[in-house]
Symmetry: C2
Subunit: 91 residues, 2 copies
């Protein structure tokens, strides 16, 4: 989870998916380069997406020759409560 967010590139990928959800790999690469000046190989982005998906932050659906990616902030909100006082009131 946190390890998935440790990389700035992955955070940018999440930014991009938050901005326009359901992008394919190819599309992501293009937009990352255009809008964020991030010059990454397709493989690099693909590996990042694997990590994000393993962390549950991204879900992907394969359709034909495309693979669409969707952001999921669920695990995020969950993990952020870790040091939240209000969730540990028995103290």
């Amino acid at each position: 989870m946190f390890d998935a967010l440790a990389s700035g590139s992955r955070r940018l990928i999440l930014d991009e998916l938050a901005d326009r959800n359901g992008q394919a790999l190819y599309e992501l690469c293009a937009r990352l380069t255009m809008k964020h000046g991030l010059n990454l190989t397709r493989q690099a982005v693909s590996q990042h997406l694997d990590v994000l998906e393993a962390a549950g932050l991204v879900r992907s659906v394969r359709e034909g020759r495309y693979k669409f990616h969707y952001i999921d902030t669920g695990p995020l909100e969950e993990a952020m409560r870790r040091w939240d006082k209000t969730t540990r009131e028995g103290e």
Copy 2:
């Protein structure tokens, strides 16, 4: 910020501070070893605290020969809104 949370050891340190706030360095080392089985050098913990403090997640006050550390979840809540849909409603 996120880089500060990238390390599991640092997350444990935050856990410890959340459990008992205002600990000194040596106290943290002791409790981390006892309760979490984390065998770290004092220097290691010190360096982690530096990182956490640079990220604004921990504040420290030097008193005599002690340096007390306090957790601050402020930047945390801030950063978590990054991919939160409700904060970017103009879409």
